[in-house]
Assembly symmetry: C2
Homo-oligomer: 177 residues x 2
């Protein structure tokens, strides 16, 4: 694993940034050009689509599949990255995530809200239970997605117009009906 970052070679702090350009194609397919921007540059091509029930061609997974897969992969990656550093030898690891949202019709549109997030961790290791629990807690603190979901985040939006960018965040009088 030459060249891999270790606790000794890691800087004290850093920013991790990902940018994504999404382009609408077809009926409901979005082509996603994802770039890690910091701390280094990497590039990934992804896509989402809906099934026929939602007007798409099922040519790619839906956005929520990427979201739930990303959450699961993130916590697993942290568990695996930290296990060695914490002296937990992992024979095997499986994680089961269950994520649900409430969905409610609002006129011709709809609104959604999170309902629950449940994560089951199945560690195959001879390490004592206390150490395994410490590992799960440490992994949660190092998991970008867990830390993001556990707090109220502000997402700022801008809309492109002929005159430049317009803030697209405050629409107080908007009524979805």
């Amino acid at each position: 694993m030459s060249g891999a970052i270790t606790p000794e070679t890691a800087p004290p702090r850093a920013v991790v940034r990902f940018d994504c350009t999404g382009r609408a194609v077809g009926k409901m397919r979005n082509e996603l050009d994802v770039r890690m921007v910091e701390p280094m540059e990497e590039h990934f091509e992804l896509a989402t689509d809906e099934g026929p029930f939602h007007g798409g061609d099922a040519s790619a997974p839906p956005p929520l599949a990427l979201f739930v897969g990303g959450l699961t992969g993130c916590i697993m990656t942290q568990i695996r990255a930290f296990a060695k550093r914490m002296g937990v030898a992992l024979n095997d690891l499986q994680v089961e995530a269950r994520v649900a949202w409430d969905w409610e019709k609002a006129g011709r549109l709809y609104e959604t809200a999170p309902k629950f997030f449940e994560i089951d961790v199945l560690i195959d290791s001879d390490a004592p239970l206390d150490l395994q629990l410490d590992l799960v807690q440490a992994a949660r603190k190092g998991c970008f997605i867990e830390q993001t979901l556990g707090r109220e985040n502000r997402i700022t939006h801008r809309l492109k117009t002929a005159e430049g960018w317009v803030a697209a965040d405050d629409r107080r009088a908007f009524d979805p009906d």
Copy 2:
């Protein structure tokens, strides 16, 4: 688009649920079996991996790429789904997302926290600006991932032991050093 759900055929409310089983393989690759469970059953195979710098084989995108791609795809899907219902004819749509996290070393481990989420929406349409802004706001309310990120969520964790499931959420005395 026969069989597609419409505002008229949609139920008043529903639960949307995704489950994911992740299996650790190789060095840092996670194989993800993602299933939409409600309102209907669908199945998707995904994977994440890290690059060599983080001890992986780069055989799949990292979890954060799936997360940022899912967020971008989700808001785009809502904009496209609502545009027709709101009388906005979309000639084209592009979305640019920028998501960053702070990362800080903590002994042999690390901790992370969200830094910013920025979404730029580029709509090509002859619809008036006011209606385009209404569309963006409606899309945000219908976007599962936006609504999830905009509030503090509780993720519950359990660890499998020989005696059954143990809660893996409260480790007050744990010190990452």
